[in-house]
């Protein structure tokens, strides 16, 4: 059955390749992209085939087309990534790149990274796609050299950019959405944009997600097959966001206030013969950030970003094995952050930037003898770029200094390190848009507060986890009478992860240790095209395929030496076909994921079967003057298949969603 789907996917890819061969080529007419003050803030859409590192972009148009609602749904459609999804609306969702841990992926929201010094990984389930203009994933180092230093300090970056209001002959925009779906899903949201004057505008939005999340699933325990229901998987979350956009003396200012509040049940993993689940989690997060960017002259641009972030979470478990039948953990995190950078363009084709970031993080909790760590991080990056229409060369050097303070217990030694990255993109033939790209990056992640200090489990002797990346790829893009647009890329890579930080069992407790070397080799292929049928109708196709051979090479004597690492499929493919027409826009999409293993050892007991998920999305927009009403519906998991992304965390079967969006 699975083979059948892979075949179907291969047919789709084959068909696209055939289309390619019959295609008349045209020359890349892209103009040299010169940075000016305004453009730095509002970047022109990056052409993914011109970048020297793999970049994948999902715009609001594609997001709407595919009917996606949460960020994970978009990220799952990128190649070279593995999304861990614990199922349901409120289940933890993280993204890892090409065999590296999720802590290696930076997540930025409107240019400034979101951090979690405690766990080191960002839960994508808390982001909605409602007001998102673009989600992009860069593997390796981005070609944009004028970014915060933090954006250099990761294996790759997932960047979320919200839409900036534009006003056409009026000084306000209003958008209201009401959405609902299976398993008690209710997702209303409101957005109001207001133009204060020619220089300043405001945008405010609120959205709420409520879901019961009690979905049915089929549980197989050997020959015993039962129909069960997921319980304690309800979620309530509120998000408030305010943005100010302005220009002051030729500089661009953006400021944001963000508030997130949620309560959710944690259904936990399925345990045979025991469906008790009473764990709950409360999250509370606030941040404020300001970015200012200004061109001082034709050659010189400066920018500065600052952020304060507060995060609180409370975990509660009701279980009589705890004193008074209750376990409550409370954690509070704070971050103060400042980034200052300058960009210098002495000549048209050459630019150099210098950026410094300084941040302070602390963590408090209600544990006895807790370390209560504080961390000061200083990152500085020097980057240079040479860019012509045919060649882009980028190089950077990141310097890191980190020092921790603790209230009790040991603290690790200060950490200093230089991390280089280099990349090139070259169009060898003047007459075609065919490009070759190559890149290298040597980066690391420092142990998180949990890795270092968590009760008994933490280990202050940990070394940073090192990540080496090499990428080589070819890209091509063009247009013709048959295709309005087509782009294709294929990359091969080799990665190595050393001193992996893993939880290792000792006699009675788990301990974080530096153990583990992972070697990853892989291929990512992406194809996108748009074919107009007539002036009103078009067919859009996207497809990608990933091959990941990520194996544990830690210990030759071990029972899992050269086994595929946990939760990493060898083959993954996605595809979507959209038929745009004046009546109802229709998108069919599928995702096929190979088998995976839940533990290091690749034995049948640890295997998680592969799956195919098919979705259908329909939408139509009605317009009356300035008012538009968009109706959108989706059917997810069309075949109603029970599958696991994480073992014993079943995903929902067939479900539906409906949304009505009113804008004026």
């Amino acid at each position: 059955m699975r083979a059948f789907y892979y075949k179907r996917l291969l047919c789709l890819i084959g068909w696209l390749l055939f289309a390619l061969s019959a295609y008349a080529q045209q020359v890349d007419t892209t103009k040299l992209y010169k940075l000016s003050g305004v453009e730095v803030v509002e970047k022109a859409r990056v052409s993914t085939t011109r970048t020297s590192n793999p970049v994948q972009i999902m715009t609001s148009t594609s997001i709407e087309r595919l009917g996606m609602q949460d960020l994970t749904e978009a990220v799952k459609r990128f190649s070279g990534v593995t999304v861990k999804d614990y199922g349901g609306i409120g289940g933890l969702k993280t993204v890892s790149i090409r065999g590296f841990g999720a802590q290696h992926t930076a997540v930025s929201y409107d240019g400034i990274t979101i951090t979690d010094a405690q766990s080191g990984q960002i839960d994508l389930s808390r982001f909605s796609l409602d007001n998102v203009e673009q989600v992009s994933l860069t593997i390796g180092q981005s070609d944009d050299i004028f970014q915060t230093a933090r954006m250099y300090a990761s294996v790759g970056a997932l960047s979320i950019r919200t839409n900036r209001p534009s006003f056409k002959n009026k000084d306000y925009n209003f958008r209201a959405k009401i959405g609902g779906g299976a398993f008690g899903l209710f997702t209303p949201s409101l957005q109001y944009d207001y133009k204060l004057n020619d220089r300043f505008s405001l945008s405010a939005r609120a959205d709420w997600i409520s879901a019961k999340g009690e979905y049915p699933f089929t549980l197989k325990n050997g020959k015993l097959v039962t129909e069960e229901k997921r319980t304690n998987s309800d979620v309530q979350s509120l998000r408030l966001e305010g943005n100010l956009y302005g220009s002051i003396k030729g500089g661009e200012l953006t400021a944001k206030l963000y508030y997130f509040d949620s309560e959710r049940g944690l259904p936990g993993s399925i345990i045979y013969y025991n469906d008790y689940a009473k764990e709950r989690l409360w999250d509370n997060n606030f941040f404020g950030q300001v970015n200012f960017c200004k061109s001082l002259s034709d050659q010189f641009t400066i920018q500065s970003s600052t952020k304060y972030s507060y995060g609180y979470n409370k975990y509660r478990n009701i279980d009589n094995k705890y004193p008074d039948g209750l376990q409550i953990d409370r954690n509070t995190q704070q971050e103060y952050y400042l980034s200052v950078g300058a960009l210098y363009n002495p000549i048209e084709s050459f630019s150099v930037s210098l950026t410094s970031d300084l941040s302070y993080n602390d963590l408090e909790n209600n544990f006895t003898n807790a370390a209560l760590p504080q961390r000061l991080t200083s990152l500085s990056v020097l980057a240079a770029q040479y860019q012509t229409t045919r060649l882009t060369l980028t190089g950077s050097l990141l310097g890191t200094f980190i020092t921790d303070e603790v209230k009790s217990g040991d603290k690790p030694a200060d950490r200093k390190r230089l991390s280089p990255a280099a990349s090139l993109s070259w169009r060898p033939f003047e007459e075609t848009n065919f490009r070759i790209r190559a890149s290298f990056k040597d980066i690391f992640r420092v142990p998180t507060f949990t890795d270092l200090y968590y009760l008994r489990v933490g280990n202050t002797k940990l070394r940073p986890e090192r990540a080496l990346q090499y990428n080589l790829g070819i890209t091509w893009s063009g247009e013709s009478s048959l295709f309005r647009y087509m782009s294709a890329s294929a990359d091969i890579y080799y990665n190595k992860s050393e001193d992996k930080i893993v939880a290792s069992p000792t006699m009675y407790v788990w301990k974080m240790i530096n153990l583990g070397e992972v070697e990853s080799k892989g291929v990512d292929i992406n194809l996108q095209t748009e074919m107009p049928l007539n002036s009103h109708m078009a067919v859009l196709l996207t497809t990608n395929y990933s091959y990941q051979h990520a194996i544990d090479v830690t210990d030759k004597e071990s029972k899992y030496y050269r086994h595929q690492i946990q939760y990493t499929p060898r083959h993954t493919g996605t595809g979507s076909v959209t038929f745009e027409n004046p009546f109802v826009n229709l998108t069919y999409s599928l995702m096929a994921v190979d088998k995976r293993y839940s533990l290091s050892q690749n034995i049948p007991d640890n295997r998680i079967d592969g799956y195919v998920e098919q979705n259908i999305s329909l939408n139509r927009t009605f317009r009356l003057g300035r008012t538009s009403l968009r109706l959108q519906g989706e059917i997810l998991n069309l075949e109603d298949r029970t599958y696991d992304v994480i073992k014993y965390y079943p995903m929902p079967g067939r479900s539906w969603r409906l949304n009505a969006i009113l804008t004026f």
Binding site: N221, G222, K223, L224, G268, S269, I270, I271, Y272, Y273, N274, Y276, I318, D319, N320, K321, Y322, P323, Q327, R456, N459, K461, S504, P505, T506, M507, Y508, V509, K511, I513, N514, L515, E557, S558, K559, Y560, S598, L599, S600, Q601, I603, D605, N606, K647, Y648
Partner: protein
């Protein structure tokens, strides 16, 4: 496995002083060997699995053929044991498999065919059972929520519960008294609780080193209690507890300690923890004579035998071979079978993660 077990079924737990002998009801007219000899017919090895993976398994080892039959519970019943099976008791013609996170007691015949599954709950919460011991037709099970649960071995039903303290762990029965380690689970405690089985009430607490986990009783009624310590200044410790006076005496302490009692000997694995990998290294295999209260000079595993990450151990009551389970919790485990002279008899790869105990089926033939 299907070999007919015909005369006496002797179920021997690692507390050999309390080994229980019962006649099989099925065979009315057994062939009586004029000169019967006790032999070990089979060994069950229980694999705890990994938390949240529902991968507890039961393997069967035939010491005559040296063959391992993997996952016999799954094969016999077409379903899994569940999550983190922690203890196995062979008593009479039945086995009691204690499954911690699944919170069940699987009662099976001696070929692991399920007779009854008891879900242990109290206040509509899973009690998370830990260990089981038999006494006079009842099986007593300790639970994480702090109870000793009494199960009747004929009706296979729960008859009562008595509160002993959070995180009740291993238990021993001496006369009509039951003793259990009270670890405190997440909030470490220092108690060993005593329960009078005639009245089924808790009678007193003894003080021991913090976080007691395991205990065994010798034939004189002395308890040997292993405490996990606090992972800082208090190491893992094996101590002797005199239940008459409440006095304790430290026998062995180390960063990593595991023990079992067989006959007059306490077998102890004592190891260091590697500061880099936090794995047990430099294991010493100590044999302590509980009668003479002296440590044997010779280790019970010869230095030529290399065991990677030894964890738990049990001793075959007939052959006195030592079954040492081993392996990191990140891969399927092994069992090393060591002769009474300390030589390696066999090394067998098991089906599951974290093998926790070996239990012996013995017959007179």
């Amino acid at each position: 496995m299907k070999k007919k077990i015909y005369f006496l079924l002797l179920a021997i737990f690692f507390v050999s002083p309390f080994l229980f002998v019962s006649c099989s009801d099925d065979d009315d007219d057994p062939d009586i060997n004029p000169d019967p000899e006790l032999t070990t017919s089979g060994v069950y090895i229980l694999n705890n699995g990994s938390y949240g993976q529902n991968n507890s398994t039961l393997d069967y080892y035939n010491p005559e053929t040296n063959e391992l039959t993997k996952k016999v519970f799954n094969t016999s019943n077409g379903r899994g044991l569940g999550d983190t099976a922690n203890d196995l008791l062979v008593y009479g013609s039945k086995m009691y498999i204690v499954v911690n996170v699944s919170s069940t007691i699987e009662i099976t015949d001696l070929e692991a065919g399920s007779l009854q599954t008891i879900s242990l709950t109290r206040d509509e919460q899973p009690q998370q059972p830990r260990f089981a011991q038999p006494h006079k037709g009842k099986v007593y099970v300790t639970t994480y929520d702090g109870y000793v649960v009494k199960i009747d071995t004929t009706s296979l039903e729960v008859e009562g519960q008595v509160e002993v303290g959070l995180g009740a762990e291993q238990l021993s029965i001496v006369g009509d008294k039951l003793y259990t380690a009270v670890s405190g689970y997440m909030t470490p405690m220092t108690k060993v609780a005593e329960v009078d089985l005639t009245t089924f009430t808790k009678t007193k607490d003894f003080e021991v080193i913090v976080a007691p986990r395991w205990m065994q009783a010798d034939k004189n009624g002395n308890l040997y209690v292993m405490s996990a310590g606090n992972y800082a200044d208090i190491k893992q410790t094996v101590q002797k507890l005199d239940t008459k006076t409440g006095e304790t005496k430290v026998i062995c302490e180390d960063e990593y300690v595991s023990m079992t009692l067989a006959g007059d000997y306490l077998y102890i694995i004592s190891a260091k923890t590697d500061s880099e990998t936090w794995s047990p290294i430099d294991a010493k295999y100590l044999k302590y004579n509980v009668e003479t209260e002296t440590m044997e000079e010779k280790e019970f595993v010869n230095s030529s035998v290399e065991i990677n990450y030894p964890t738990y151990l049990d001793v075959d009551p007939v052959t006195e071979q030592i079954y040492i389970t081993a392996g990191l919790a990140t891969n399927t485990g092994d069992v090393y079978i060591v002769s009474p002279e300390g030589d390696l008899v066999n090394k067998v790869e098991l089906s599951g993660y974290n093998p926790v105990c070996s239990r012996f089926l013995t017959i007179l033939e």
